[in-house]
């Protein structure tokens, strides 16, 4: 009997966006034509997105990578020995040994790109469920203590210690509690949540189940944005499989834990990534921000104690439980412990996922891993932490990725998204866009955010038109103060960060009377 050759083609939507499905089809056809027996596995993406579609062939030496591959290349590659790991121009070497990947410290993304995301057997073979089993052998308080000791902070951007949040929920005596996963990853430049849900959904399910056990919750929701249909489909399919395996439902793995998990799809509102807006949306309402206190840990979904964590936070918990708090705590710097999943995007040569311990510098990520710009022009500005994060110039490339170090520099690590711009960027236009985005996406509850953002656009336009420049710059500064101090949540509160950083670091762009090209067309429906 002939053993089929295993060939891997990612099913991640980024890989599919550049033709992975066609490549997979072409491989099957070519194999038939050449009389070869193959088994195609649709794995997650390794996160080397400039190499997608990346085809891997299992060989005695390891998984040999070829990429990027176009469907039209496939027949020739197969004829030339692709299924035997032949040395072809597109061959990259054994994927695990590629320096870009080998230098990383993959903790949360350890399985992604390696396994079939919807194979529970693959999940078990690669260390899945170990953390849940260990959690169930301990008391809920011990699990909370382990998470606290690991130093894990929320990966959604705010960086609040996960263990402290969990302890608050555990200490509540209500009979109904919830675990909510905030998978409304709306920040431009961030895609790690999407890749995790598409590439290793059982990990998120396991993390949420551990959280439910630790705090005494019986129901969970994963709130996924509608812009991610593939993540929605994969997560839903994984939940069904998990029920079948006894990883969800009544008496999880034979324990007394009962936990039901649901996927909810958002409605295309950026603000619902804010945790209290997300809770309102889950309750079937407009996604209006709630004032805190009361905090969601005490008065959350439907007024009940609720753990709200980001995808990456929850997906890190199984590892913490499997390997212990100490192992995780040893990674990172200062009060930023463990690893962060950095996402390199925008005008970048080698974009993708870099998971590494905190403390790596911005320059090491952009120039090192990223290889500079895709356009080949010099890097001029880098926006870190999403649309509400600061724009930084090259002079800040020595900054270590560390929540406190970034805050001290007037910036934020956020969710670890890094967007690169080359020298053609107009920073006044980017500042204007930050205000325009806030105007379009404000929930409308707070006046500084709702009205301030509209005024911000007007003031920046006057600056660009050289109308009373100094007075208008002072007015913009004042407006930024009001938004920062007077908004309930980060939407209005942080929009001044990209605006101020653009003025601070790129003042020349605000001096010449140049036109600002960006203009968002009418998108007012639903805005108060």
């Amino acid at each position: 009997m002939i053993t089929p050759v295993t060939v891997y083609v990612p099913r991640d939507s980024a890989a599919r966006s550049v033709g992975a499905d066609d490549v997979a089809d072409a491989l099957v056809s070519a194999a038939a034509r050449h009389g070869r027996l193959i088994r195609v596995v649709r794995n997650g993406s390794r996160g080397m997105l400039w190499l997608e579609p990346l085809v891997e062939v299992a060989t005695p030496d390891g998984r040999m990578g070829y990429g990027p591959i176009a469907a039209t290349d496939v027949d020739g590659l197969v004829a030339a020995g692709l299924f035997d790991g032949a040395d072809l121009p597109q061959r990259l070497g054994v994927v695990d040994e590629l320096p870009w990947l080998a230098a990383q410290n993959r903790v949360t993304f350890t399985r992604i790109g390696i396994t079939d995301p919807l194979s529970p057997d693959d999940y078990l073979r690669h260390g899945g469920v170990v953390g849940l089993v260990r959690a169930l052998q301990n008391s809920p308080a011990d699990v909370v203590a382990e998470v606290t000791d690991s130093g894990l902070r929320g990966r959604g951007g705010a960086g609040f210690p996960a263990g402290i949040k969990w302890k608050t929920v555990l200490d509540c005596t209500d009979d109904l509690k919830f675990v909510c996963c905030n998978a409304d990853e709306g920040d431009s430049g961030t895609f790690a949540d999407r890749m995790l849900m598409e590439g290793d959904p059982f990990l998120l399910i396991e993390g949420m189940t551990i959280a439910a056990y630790a705090v005494g919750a019986t129901e969970g929701y994963i709130y996924i944005r509608s812009e991610y249909p593939d993540a929605v489909a994969t997560t839903r399919a994984a939940i069904e499989i998990a029920y079948g395996r006894g990883w969800l439902g009544d008496n999880v793995l034979g324990s007394p834990l009962n936990f039901d998990l649901h996927v909810r799809v958002g409605g295309g509102a950026y603000i619902c990534g804010e945790e209290t807006s997300m809770l309102e949306s889950l309750e079937g309402k407009r996604g209006m921000v709630r004032a805190k206190p009361p905090i969601p840990a005490i008065h959350g979904l439907f007024g009940k104690p609720t753990v709200v964590n980001n995808v990456l936070t929850l997906a890190t918990v199984p590892t913490v439980m499997a390997h212990g708090a100490q192992a995780y705590q040893e990674l990172g710097v200062e009060r930023s412990r463990g690893t962060q999943v950095f996402q390199l995007g925008g005008n970048i040569k080698h974009g993708g996922i870099v998971e590494t311990a905190f403390g790596i510098t911005l320059g090491e990520l952009v120039d090192g891993y990223g290889g500079g710009t895709r356009s080949g022009r010099p890097v001029r500005a880098v926006q870190v932490g999403g649309p509400l994060g600061a724009y930084l110039p090259r002079t800040k490339f020595e900054l270590p990725m560390d929540y406190e170090a970034f805050a001290a520099a007037g910036a934020m690590v956020g969710h670890g998204g890094i967007v690169v711009f080359d020298e053609t960027v107009d920073m006044a236009a980017q500042a204007r866009f930050a205000m325009e985005f806030c105007a379009a996406e404000s929930c409308g509850k707070c006046t500084p955010c709702r009205v301030g953002a509209v005024r911000g656009v007007e003031v920046i336009d006057r600056i660009a038109a050289d109308e009373h420049r100094d007075e208008n710059l002072a007015l913009l500064e004042d407006l930024c103060d009001v938004m920062t101090e007077g908004s309930l949540c980060a939407m209005g509160g942080l929009t001044p960060m990209p605006v101020r950083s653009a003025i601070t670091h790129f003042p020349d762009d605000f001096l010449a009377g140049q036109p600002i090209p960006l203009h968002i067309s009418a998108r007012t429906e639903g805005q108060p």
């Binding site: 961030t190 958002g266 889950l282 998204g417 968002i520 429906e525």
Partner: protein, 152 residues
């Protein structure tokens, strides 16, 4: 619009907590939009005021009050895509089709919208075509997509 259909959808989701969003998604999936006539029906079924339902429908960008074109192209205008030419794609749509973002063509073949981030930030500029993600777009590939939509 079929009132019975809307009532059936509500019945399917009635057991879920805070079910209005899933119900609205299901109505839009079935009918292509949320007909204004559906709002009093939903209000009646869910024991909400019509203003409550309208408030939710109009808050979220996803829900439409009129049908979209047969093909919907959503161009990402997030910062990461802006950094690699998303605005050129927007200009191209304006020049090639004479359409602004948010519009549906008169023949009902095409709707072009903007979206802020599709999570394809390393392979931009990106767009979603009938729910399917497209990466590394340029004007010529976008043209091919638009032409195919109009031809259908």
């Amino acid at each position: 619009m079929s009132t019975a259909l809307v009532r059936d959808i509500v019945a399917t989701y009635r057991g879920q907590r805070g079910a209005l969003l899933p119900i609205l998604h299901a109505v839009q999936e079935a009918l292509g939009y949320i007909p204004p006539e559906a709002i009093p029906v939903l209000a009646d079924e869910l024991n909400l005021s019509r203003a409550d339902v309208h408030g939710v429908v109009s808050f979220y960008h996803d829900f439409r009050s009129a049908p979209a074109g047969r093909t919907t192209v959503r161009i990402c205008r997030g910062e990461a895509c802006q950094a690699v030419g998303a605005e050129r794609l927007v200009s191209h749509v304006r020049d090639a089709c004479g359409m602004s973002l948010g519009e549906t063509s008169l023949d009902g073949s095409l709707t072009v919208e903007q979206v802020f981030c599709l999570g394809n930030c390393a392979l931009g500029p990106a767009a979603q075509v009938n729910g399917r993600l497209q990466g590394r777009l340029d004007e010529s590939r976008l043209s091919a997509i638009l032409d195919e939509a109009v031809a259908q």
